[in-house]
């Protein structure tokens, strides 16, 4: 057997996602352009045009249709891909729920971006967090390498739990940033990702007269179906860990499953965040540790399923400082969700970096110090 070596190169996050999708060998790709997602599907259409990828690439008139096309294809047994951002994601909203409710194993990249008004193409997490109740599994990458790895893993996850999976990556910070990356050989991806079962969730085939989606005779049937989606998310927690470990054995990179733990041993304080800026937060943790502050970091790789058990390991910390790159009228989304596990006593929710505002390691360090000292008057802090 020939030696299988990974290709070392440097790519933008969007191109890394496109390569991962290509290596997953989807049958049907459909998308609509929106900054900063566009270069993903431009690259994929280039692969298809050159004959390097045998997918059908379908241009559509809207994001709603992009998801509708891949929904139809996924229900008919195809492996599929779409991608969007911000307003495009919101234009998909009805289809998002229908896809999850149909247990369609779609993979979608969400390149996170601020929502208008005013028009702003920069990074923020409000878009991806706004779909957290739809039934999709939702992950966020923290590097170009992880954007690649998560995309490959997302197919395995989607087809294991029969639910759609969204892979988030920060607009520009990852989507348009070139970083060093290792691309595993195609054989490794093929081994990790066997062909999907085209008869799940339903066998939609000529000659098989079944109907999906007509009105239930008993609403309890529908209720049971909805509960099954909840149960699938609970089961997915274990599956995500197993997939990450198996991928780690094959490709040499393991991230820790639902969360990544960083310097948490012996910590009295914890930082919780997700996405590309966690790298800057880690720099802050390093410098705080050098200053003698016993702080660690938990990076959320998934927000759905929600890592309740992992967060529970932070119980007993003097302070848990959650950084939200999103804002709602009730504060930050993650802060509120983390507080639902740990209680408000120890949690400080710092809303920062919204609308694409830069937030550096120093800013993290300052905020953590102030939170530890109890200098913020409220448990929700808008920086």
């Amino acid at each position: 057997m020939k030696a299988l070596t990974a290709l070392k190169t440097a790519l933008t996050g969007n191109h890394a996602v496109a390569y991962a999708v290509k290596m997953a060998r989807p049958h049907v790709i459909s998308a609509y352009p929106i900054t900063p997602q566009t270069t993903i599907v431009e690259k994929l259409s280039e692969f298809v045009a050159k004959g390097e990828l045998k997918s059908d690439f379908i241009n559509v008139e809207s994001e709603f249709s992009a998801l509708a096309v891949v929904y139809g294809a996924a229900m008919a047994g195809a492996r599929t891909f779409t991608a969007t951002s911000s307003h495009g994601l919101f234009y998909m909203y009805e289809m998002l729920w229908w896809a999850a409710g149909s247990r369609a194993p779609i993979v979608m990249a969400i390149v996170t971006r601020t929502l208008g008004p005013p028009w702003n193409i920069h990074d923020e997490h409000n878009d991806i967090l706004a779909i957290r109740d739809s039934g999709w599994a939702i992950a966020m990458a923290s590097s170009v390498q992880e954007a690649f790895d998560l995309t490959v893993q997302a197919y395995r996850l989607a087809e294991s739990i029969n639910l759609p999976v969204a892979v988030g990556l920060d607009g520009f910070l990852l989507s348009h940033t070139v970083e060093s990356i290792e691309i595993p050989p195609q054989e490794v991806v093929d081994k990790f990702l066997p062909p999907r079962n085209p008869e799940l969730p339903i066998k939609l085939r000529p000659g098989n007269p079944i109907t999906w989606g007509n009105i239930p005779a008993d609403d309890r049937m529908h209720a049971e179906h909805l509960k099954n989606i909840y149960r699938a998310h609970q089961e997915a927690k274990g599956i995500i860990g197993a997939i990450d470990a198996e991928y780690g054995k094959l490709a040499g990179r393991e991230y820790g499953g639902l969360v990544e733990r960083y310097e948490l041993d012996g910590a009295k304080y914890a930082v919780v965040c997700m996405g590309a800026w966690c790298g800057d937060a880690k720099e802050a943790v390093k410098s705080l540790r050098r200053d003698g502050v016993p702080v660690g970091l938990m990076r959320l790789r998934f927000v759905r399923p929600f890592p309740d058990e992992e967060l529970r390991t932070l119980e007993g910390m003097d302070k848990v400082v959650v950084f939200d790159r999103d804002i709602t009228p009730a504060g930050g989304v993650l802060g509120r969700e983390v507080a639902s596990v740990l209680g408000r006593g120890s949690v400080v929710d710092v809303v920062a970096g919204i609308a694409g505002v830069d937030f550096k390691a120093d800013d993290f360090a300052k905020a953590v110090k102030r939170a530890i000292k109890g200098e913020y008057g409220d448990w929700i802090v808008l920086l």
Binding site: P201, P209, I210, W212, M221, H225, N228
Partner: protein, 87 residues
């Protein structure tokens, strides 16, 4: 995870209930007048009329909603809409 992922429906009669009970008028076939043309079968929106050339037509009164299209379209008026008996 191997449980039924989505609860699909399968074709069956009576998906809308015992729809024969909706009827206020009942199609009564006068077979002596029937010319075996199949028009009633073709237009019946409910598929409750059985027809095969050379065989007498049969109506499934369990599900016939009594719309009366068959009687109206019959070219020889071999079907008559008669009032259903009250309860």
């Amino acid at each position: 995870m191997e449980s039924v992922l989505v609860p699909v429906s399968r074709p069956d009669v009576g998906s809308g209930g015992l729809t024969g009970t909706w009827r206020t008028l009942r199609p009564v076939v006068h077979l002596d007048k029937c010319i075996d043309c199949g028009i009633c079968w073709l237009y019946c929106p409910e598929s409750v009329i059985d027809w095969e050339r050379g065989q007498k037509i049969k109506i499934d009164y369990n599900y016939c909603k009594g719309c009366g299209i068959c009687a109206h379209e019959c070219p020889v008026k071999a079907i008559e809409m008669a009032p259903e008996g009250g309860l």
